[in-house]
């Protein structure tokens, strides 16, 4: 059902999308501020149920890309979020019916809202990841082998690039990264246009409203001094993997990714256990006492045990009291084809995927 996003929804989306960022995706803080400012001045954005799209409606898939350090000086705002969409419309000679985000995890959850604030277009309640992932070929549209072009990369000045064709998702990724660097390591994108039919079939549906509901539950629990982690698990059908404290964090930056590992010493019911997680921008694999306990594409989230606020891979630090939880991944990621794109082997781990939510079922081997 379509509805208007409220001012309170914005706060909830900031909290919820940061949890779905599974450690990455960039902090939504400045995008949230931008939207709050728009709402304070009387603005409002419509959230459109994907079921209401006509099969031939055209939807713009939007994102911000670049280096997190640069985002701190050059923040995305409504006009910049909308810019690549207008260039795409000019290129196609067609108008978009609505906007959506490529990833619901982290700051990009707000990207279509920003564009909507500048255009009045509705935001489709869906994304192409159901979380955050580091690379373009990890989108549900890539798993479905949809076309990856044309693809617009926009600069804040009058420098904009249209990638008219690309041979593979990987080559598109390489070209647009180079362009983004030239633009000062921050760019907004309008990715290959999607039809209503493609979205209904291949997008991850209702993720914006799910992120809002998740954030709302965490904030409600926080205000009521309830257990915020338990509230998260309830709201997102999650599983608690460990409660503990951070005892070690190792990070290194390679090939533009923040890679590393972190270890937690168990507290309370998990005393005497050690939980370790490896990350590449986002959390990818977790081990309990040396045995694999959880792997991507299950969502691995690390929350502050008291506030329920998500903790990003770049802000982990010794002594934090954290809860490691798993949330179920979208269906598409658990198919054999999906696991090729986003399973443990896609991140360089030679281990089979076994969902913590399907312990009794046959394991699916990618």
């Amino acid at each position: 059902m379509s509805r208007h996003i409220t001012g309170h929804d914005l706060e909830c989306l900031a909290t919820g999308s940061w949890i779905l960022g599974t450690g990455g995706g960039g902090s939504p803080y400045s995008s949230y501020l931008s939207m709050r400012n728009y709402y304070d001045n009387g603005g409002s954005v419509e959230l459109l149920d994907p079921g209401e799209l006509a099969d031939d409606d055209l939807v713009a898939v939007l994102s911000t890309m670049g280096a997190p350090l640069v985002f701190q000086e050059r923040m995305t705002d409504p006009a910049f979020a909308l810019k690549p969409l207008r260039i795409m419309e000019e290129f196609l000679g067609r108008r978009f019916r609505a906007v959506m985000t490529v990833e619901i995890g982290g700051c990009n959850a707000f990207q279509p809202l920003l564009a909507a604030a500048a255009s009045g277009l509705p935001v489709v309640d869906a994304d192409a990841m159901g979380r955050a992932f580091p690379e373009a070929q990890m989108q549900s549209f890539a798993i479905a082998d949809l076309k990856m072009y044309p693809h617009v990369v926009a600069d804040i000045r009058d420098n904009d690039v249209i990638v008219a064709r690309a041979a593979t998702w990987q080559s598109l990724e390489r070209v647009r990264r180079k362009v983004c660097t030239e633009f000062g390591s921050v760019a907004t994108t309008c990715q290959a246009p999607r039809t209503g039919a493609e979205i209904k079939r291949h997008a991850v549906l209702h993720t914006t409203s799910r992120a809002i509901a998740l954030g709302r539950e965490v904030r409600r629990a926080r205000a009521a001094h309830d257990d915020t982690v338990a509230a998260t698990l309830r709201a997102a059908n999650g599983k608690l993997l460990s409660r503990g404290k951070v005892i070690d964090v190792q990070r290194r930056t390679t090939e533009g990714f923040l890679r590393g590992t972190t270890r937690f010493a168990g507290l309370d019911g998990d005393a005497d256990s050690i939980f370790e997680i490896a990350f590449q921008n986002e959390f990818s694999v977790g081990w309990r006492n040396g045995s694999v306990a959880v792997t991507t594409p299950d969502l691995i989230c690390v929350l502050d045990s008291v506030s329920g606020e998500a903790i990003g891979t770049e802000s982990l630090r010794y002594g934090q009291r954290v809860s490691v939880i798993a949330l179920p991944s979208p269906e598409i990621h658990r198919t054999a084809k999906g696991l090729q794109h986003v399973g443990p082997r896609a991140f360089g781990y030679d281990i089979p995927f076994k969902s913590v939510f399907a312990e009794d079922k046959e394991e699916i081997v990618a």
Binding site: Q72, G184, D248, Y318
Partner: protein
Amino acid sequence: MSRIGIDVGGTNTDAVLVADGKVVAAVKTATTEDVSSGVKQALSDLLRGAALMPAARKLEAVMIGTTHFTNAVAERRALDKVAALRIGLPANASLPPFVDWPADLVNVVRGSVHMVAGGHEFDGRPLVPLDRAAIREEARRIADSGLTAVALTSVFSPLTDECEREAAEILKEEIPGARITLSHELGRIGLLERENCALLNASLQSLAQRTAAAFVAALSESGLDVPLFLTQNDGTIVHSGLAARYPVHCFASGPTNSMRGAAFLSGIGDAIVVDVGGTTSDIGCIKGGFPREANAAVEVGGVRTLFRMPDLLSLALGGGTEISADGRRIGPRSVGYRLTSRALCFGGDTLTATDIAVAAGRIALGERDRVAHLSPSFAESGMRQMGEMISDGIDRMKTDAAEVPLLAVGGGSFLVPEKVPGASAVVRVEHHAVANAVGAAIAQVSGEVDRIFTGIGRVQAIECAQAEATQRALDAGADPGSVAVLDIDDIPLSYLPGDARRVRVRVIADIADFGERQDETNFG
């Protein structure tokens, strides 16, 4: 040689005389509304005893640490209205200055907001050409409005200050008597947080000038003809003239001084410090005698800032913390400075942390008979719970699992248990109740640079940063012969092209001879 250190807190003004590396006199007086008469009182109390000591005669300087500016922001008083000029359009247009401030503070501080085109990329290329005509036009508008406090922020100015400097020249031409804060002189990468820091600084300028002048007057009225320094967030000092320009650098000087004082008094430079006051416990970490700095945003009066601040964990636990009758709820309310009238052991009606400690026999305060009704098991259980709160906080502030000494200071430090998990020892020192004034007295001058360098090699980048840091120390009043490098950090930023690296250099030095010092100070 001797120095006087003064800590002007919200409740108490403490003063110490440190001569030849030893605390020779210490006094505690009440902080006064006008701040300076409390300082005069403290000086007079201190000097009455100290005048007799020959070691105290060669007074070198007076160092004052004050929470006055932080309190002004927290209480939203004595703040100037500020004109905010941001350079960086077309970027960030939807996030104007003050966008993330609490509404009540915006009402007090926001004078006007101006945004013009300009700014830089992370690699030093201009973002777009600086719009000088627009700056002049906005400057005239500011001049017409009568505002003189201006905060100037440009995109990526910590990397290149060109735009801010050039704009400042135009502002000076157009606005007579303008007091301009440049964001790159204060903050780091993070536009909103750095701009917030500049805005707060600009709003505090006239209060800082008045306060520094009042301190100088208090000194001269006390018959002291020595230079005055104010202490800063990083445990160093600046000459009072310069401090009036950067009041934000004094925001956290209280906790910093107490950590540094604890290190000095114990002779232990690497430790966790817990300072238990009447309402809160501040926990910090010192390395080489200096506080570890916060890397994340620190809120001041509800405003997010990112600059030179100590990494602190504040717990709502102090000597005045109120305890529920069943002993289960500890704080967060506190009787604060009214401890001696409100606590049970002083004949009051409120059960406080101090009463528990008195009942448990940890400290002798007030009359123990008045807490005789508290059973030993009740008192022990209360002490254990409070000890756990402190232990938990200490563990959170550690950076690794290795054991480190714990320095316990402050008037409420009797709440710190004798054994703390993860601490190799709990160290208590003489004069711990005035550790903050001691920290002020021993402070040195510093200079710091924290910048991203691109296109030059590592060695050259470090040399460049070191030269700049040294110049900053000299500006702050350093003796050129004594400048030493305190720490160098360099981090390659591999997600940025062009051999980019963030280099941070901090130098430290003794204060220069100002030539106005008398060898034999006349204590009158």
